[in-house]
Amino acid sequence: MAKFDLNDDGVVVIVGSGAGGGTLGNELAQKGIKVVILEAGARNEIQDFINNEWESFTQLAWKDMRTTSGSWQVAKDFPNLPAWIVKSVGGSTVHWAGASLRFDEHEFKIRSAYGDVPGANMLDWPITLAEMEPWYAKAENKMGVTRTNGIPGLPGNNNFKVMEAGARKVGYKEVHTGRMAINSQPRDGRGSCQQIGFCFQGCKSGAKWSTLYTEIPKGEATGNLEVRPNSMAIKIEHDASGKVTGVVYADAEGKQQRQKARVVAVAGNSIESPRLLLNSASSMFPDGLANSSGQVGRNYMRHMTGSVYAVFDKSVHMYRGTTMAGIIRDEAKNDPSRGFFGGYEMETLSLGVPFMAAFLKPGAWGRTFTSAMEQYPQMAGMWLVGEDLPQETNRVTLDPKAKDAHGMPVASVHYDDHPNDLAMRNHAYKQGSAVYESIGATATFPTVPYPSTHNMGTNRMSAKARDGVVNKFGQTHDIKNLFVSDGSQFTSSAACNPTLTIVSLAIRQADHIAGAMQKKEI
């Protein structure tokens, strides 16, 4: 395994080891480029994962304090936990559900497709679906996405069968067990899904794709990739010409280190990435790095979300088996006649008893709540996930008061629901309930959003430097050897889960970085 010197200024330093950073790191390493990945969290491997929701949360989640504001429900229910993401090697690919969907064509050009929606900061991506298709194909092959590359779909579990029966009854057509980066048959040295459940707690069988046990060890095997866990990036430094020169980070002992770099790629998820750029402000870049547009931290998107749980008179045991192998796609289209732009997916979801208690109706108590809890084994559940629109005022900033253990200001996340999000959520609650009621649900519970698992948009892509932070390759408009490699690049959020697009962009970006390094452009 490689070990690079702190003063080696020929390395690419990547901040974060998840879908973006972990993929980029391996892709570059495969091309012979030396890479150091700084990961804030510890290295927990498959054998360390725990089939227990709270214990696993304690082990894997990003629990460092954050602050919140805005009209979104999360700020009220979980004021210091705006996002449920991972601080561990592999990042949020450790706890992601595996849903791997491509954007629709119109979702790359929301400004053209939806127009200038009041209150939203609409912009088309500088890339199209046609340009992304080959990269999507590479990502699907890499991740082993079911229903692509001849890979069969996963078998449906009880929770899916309930949703499927209801969906057919109400007339939905596109209903299946999803395009999942979870092996339905052995592939790429990993076994097939054992229907364990606990997909969010780290896959104990390794059937689910995660950079932790795919990209990262493959990259390490080349001798070109070093992953440094427990390394919290604090500041990106630059020289007098404005080029970035390295990253200052706190090591496991809290001691500050400085890793020199030829190129820096930020992939710390959409809250930490803008926080790091903002915290790297200097006299040359007083508003933070790559922020000449003022868009760093802005346009924070977290998807329109919500859940519907339904109670039946007989058992379901929704927690058994793959958590999210089930989807209804009929509402994912853009059909403004429903009263909103964009669309949403319905995807199977289950929580165990401990998380159901915490998330079914945060703050609720008394017999209405406990009666619902007592129906747990007869419950089916779905997650509603749809496009939310970028708003300039939805943003990540540095908290003026609160600081973390390293003295760095914590991220403050402001989010107001757009009227479009509210209209979509109401529609989705109604449709989700209808699915279950059509086959005899005795009660349905419209459940409010959980802390955000899909965080996007805070360093968005734009054709013009004044509209966003990065260009079509994730390269910052302002600093040519500084890249953004995670979902914060997203110009729009689309209806679907973001990981496949993050991985596709990272593969594409690796080609661009390697080419630019070879041509000595960076």
Binding site: A165, Q195, K314, R320, G352, P377, I439
Partner: protein, 182 residues
Amino acid sequence: MREVDRRTKLNRRTFLQGAATAVPAVAVATSAGLSIEDAWAEGSTTLAPATMKTLVKVARDIYPHDFLVDSYYITAVKPWDGKAAKDPAVKAMIEDGVKRLDQDAQDRHKLPYAQVAWESDRVTLLQGIEQTAFFKAMRSDLVVSLYNQEELWPKFGYEGSSAEHGGYIKRGFDDINWLPKV
């Protein structure tokens, strides 16, 4: 379909664990001639036994599950004694909170909270303090300390950790048999 066996698998170890640390509880019970149900409260070091008992009643009234015996609620609130021992502010919050609740109960029913007979009357009293730090701390702690007890999961038809059993691939992940044909 494979149903979950919800019967209480009550063994002595589980029960005594639930009712605070085993040995002191038994020792206190035998030496003082108390029943085991009360002994756990006598074992508290910082909060008065009466306060602990009121907390148990409050816990049950916040999350009432009639199929759960008191030991689960005792397990859920017992750690407050230790927290109160470490932090005077916590001790004051709990003691003041219980005092206020008892005072409200006296004003309305001429009884301390724990002796108000009907749950609905006690719930009305709790609604009166819903915005206090005491109630918020009790509820937000309880939603984890109660529902995160593995011993009670089977009663909710939940089977907990599954990887060590080979997942559900051969244990009923797709065994639903009552759905209409699609």
